[in-house]
Amino acid sequence: MRRVAITGIGVLSGIGGTREEFWNSLRAGRSGIAPITLADCSQIRFRNGAEVRGFRATDHFGERQADFMDRFAQLAVVAAREAVQDAKVEWTDDLRAGTAIVTGSCVGGQGSEDAGYVELYRLGRARVHPLTIPRTMANAGASHISMDLHISGPTFTISTACASAAHAIGQAFWMVRSGATEMAIAGGSEAPFSFGMLKAWEAMRVVSTDTCRPFSYERSGMILGEGAAMLVLEPMDAAIARGAHIYAELSGIGMSSDAHHLTQPSPLGAARAMRAALADGELAPEQIGYINAHGTATLANDSTEATAIGDVFGARASTLPVSSTKSMHGHTLGAAGALEAAATVLAIDRGYLPPTANFGTRDPECNLDVIPHVAREAQVEGALSNSFAFGGLNAVLAFRAHRT
């Protein structure tokens, strides 16, 4: 089987609308959490979110093209363009046909659906916009990337709630590793700031009225975020041969299902996914120098995740650097696995581990080194990125530093 290199990264997030802005914020420990502007929160118990500030579709698309796309698809395409440009891909017809696109999204174009329901149920209109269905479908992001970049290989979307993008990157990884495709663009996008969606999150009582404080004793829930991240994956040999910049090697994916509870996570499922990622990536636990945690800052997730890390890494768990970058870019749901894979890969490439921002005081149930507030200089050999979804579906990506 082939080794797989990451040679391009594109990101739009609440902490920056480009890869480099995203990285600069992570490096500085700067949070993008602020009052939500894209939806009216006056009737919602929480106010804060991490929005992609200043994003205007018409800066990136013609008006007519933009009309056909929900914001989640617009973010996906802009991230994919940046990733492909970053990788300096030299396209041929064969490569376009041999490149896969795999995206993750949890709620897809739900904002467009919500707008249609406002027309029907609130305004009493008899019809909704004819593009409601194609804007809403979860695969719209992947389809628009395909059309925009003229890439015609296997293209599909995976929806596993908050693990969507990690599962998507994993599928793309398998296709490149096995030789099924010569290249892949993989990641995820999400734009969850519509009134109906926020009301649904409010009802679950897992969103903080404060901010996102992962692994802190004071943590009070997640903060929603929007964004997109896309990675370019290609065979290591091909990347080296064409002189591409190799951010890191994607060396493994581990997946599991808790088979336990719809919303209560199980440390057993999380630990099995981490072990499977290490085994698939042929990495020993001692080789892991950083974990980008799922770290939602809900009461249940963080203590469960800490227990799972303890189970896999034993005595070393309390000194192994682990951070949750959701403290800065929020929980981007189906895009989270991609934003966090990008953060992990950039951390390996740049030699700094992003911190856990907004950290309060230590929770004895989360006995981890969470890199509070300030990024840490470190050359790591291997790293994990954890994604644990509602529904008990887990996906963990394993990365290895590429040293030349």
């Binding site: 009802a203 009582r205 919303t263 209560q264 249940a300």
Partner: protein, 83 residues
Amino acid sequence: MSDDLIARVLKTIADAQRLPLEQVTLDSTFEALGIDSMDGVNILFALENEFDIAIPDEAARGIRTVREMAEGVDKLVQAKVSG
């Protein structure tokens, strides 16, 4: 707490949890009734509808028994009446 309020709280919890009404008493713990965190959120939703109140997240956190839940509802209903 009035008997009426208690009776409505017990019925709301029993209905939400799909339990026989006689099984739910003021002294029941959530644990004994098999109420986990997601069930708790469902019950809060049902109580908000039943009493036309808004139960803040902070007030709901840490509630482990039917009595605590009824007392919390009572407080919010009283506040609504006086407000």
